[in-house]
Amino acid sequence: MFHTEVRSKNAIVTIGRDLPAVIIGERINPTGKKKFGQALLAKDFEYVRREAIAQVEQGADILDVNVGVAGVDEIAMLPEVVKIVSETVDVPLCIDSSNPMALAAALKVYEGKALVNSVTGEEKSLVSVLPLIKEYGAAVVGLLMDDTGIPNDPEKRLAIAFKIVERAEKLGIERSNIIIDCLTMTVSSDHNAATVTLKTIERIVEELGSNIILGISNVSFGLPDRNSITRTMIAMALKAGLTCIIMDPTAEGMRRTVKTSDLLLGRDEWSLNYLAEYRQYSEPQA
């Protein structure tokens, strides 16, 4: 069993299977948010500050920061937004970009130990991202896709996880600093998508013992009442072995589902976290 530590200047978050699930707020991401994209282009960072504060207030333990949108120079923008979010809230950050140069620029200005999202099993990603993780002593999300795409078979996804872990360990990156993203595909285009993800989680737990992360919201894309599907997936994935979740903590009932799952999975002695959550937030009243 592994513990992954992620730090900001003033806070430490520990991710592990014997600990309560860690919530990573996903809302600082312009994909599909036209206004946020325009605000970024205009260098208006009010939106970023507001989302940072709102998510932490709603229980985010870590914040994901992604500035990828058409027209934005990520290499310049990602460090700038990372700095702004760090000045606004205390929580550690998950620096999110598929551009290694943007990741490098952001890691350079980040104070603490960041979680980097992500490296994949693709050769060009392994050679460009892993050295950065080593250099900055960061933790990294390992995404289970490679040069042939995203396999639809849990055993093949497991093989990519082995590859990422081996390549990282070769560079001296400890396994505890690699969090595996088993990939949440959308169930609306393949009714087996969620079962493949869940089975992959179980296999990673058995074979590697690594911490596991999912960007959970994608599961419900294309269907109505996405919230119900996403919350149920959170519960199932936590049972399978998920340890941290990229999600929207401000969406109704979402955080409550995480805390309830922890309670039912025996990770909340005397129900103290559940009760604290219940008293702190008014939704939903029984």
Binding site: P30, T31, G32, K34, G37, G68, V69, A70, G71, V72, E74, S97, S98, N99, M145, G149, I150, T186, S188, S189, H191, F221, G222, L223, P224
Partner: protein, 212 residues
């Protein structure tokens, strides 16, 4: 010609086997394949597209409806080809180099086919050179490029540039789509059309070839 209504209904009620059966029945009744296509299959997909636009139906329903249309097309295609039926136009589409997303692109492909376009679907992770080869080989009216992740947006620009450099820009219209894509950006990098979803993509394609 109640059978055309049956074809349409089989699509709206998601029954691919029925679509196939009714298309065969329509042919047996001596109905022109072009009419079966437009009044049966395309009419059915038009209803689906409209409902999808209004959030009355969802992605899985569009996918199964598209499956119905394909089942019907399988029956009609050989006969349509023999009769040299005219399509609205030819579209070559693919997801840009280094990007492996295909759901949205395939949805667009099916909707375009359903609307009467001939679609050549190149797949995912398509190099600029492959787009160029496809333009030369298929002589399409439209090139449709999908990009779902921000890091592959520069590859869309590279693809357009390659088409310009190959001297082929004048003969094709270029459409671009995908979550991080905006209409302003498409025009800025020298594209012609944009659709925020599959239905909008069909509207954009029709507009580009002047049949909207």
């Amino acid at each position: 010609m109640a059978v055309l209504e049956d074809i349409k209904n089989s699509i709206i009620t998601y029954k691919p086997a029925k679509t196939k059966e009714f298309c065969q029945q329509a042919l047996d009744e001596g109905i022109e394949p072009q009419l079966i296509l437009s009044e049966g299959l395309i009419a059915g997909m038009a209803v689906i597209g409209e409902k999808f636009k209004l959030n009355k139906i969802y992605v899985p329903e569009v996918l199964i409806a598209a499956k119905c249309t394909h089942a019907g097309l399988d029956i009609l295609k050989p006969i349509l080809a023999a009769a040299k039926a005219v399509s609205l136009g030819k579209v070559v589409l693919g997801t840009v180099k280094d990007d492996l997303h295909d759901i949205g692109k395939n949805l667009v492909a099916m909707m375009l086919e359903g609307a009467g376009f001939e679609v050549i679907n190149l797949g995912v992770n398509i190099d600029p050179e492959k787009f160029i080869e496809a333009i030369k080989e298929y002589q399409p009216e439209i090139i449709a490029i999908s990009s779902l992740i921000t890091s592959t947006l520069p590859n869309v620009e590279a693809t357009i540039k390659a088409i310009v450099d190959a001297g082929l820009r004048e003969q094709v219209k270029i459409m671009i789509g995908g979550a991080p894509v905006t209409e302003e950006w498409v025009l800025q990098i020298g594209g012609d059309g944009f659709g925020k979803d599959a239905t909008a993509a069909v509207d954009a394609a029709k507009k580009l070839i002047g049949v909207a």
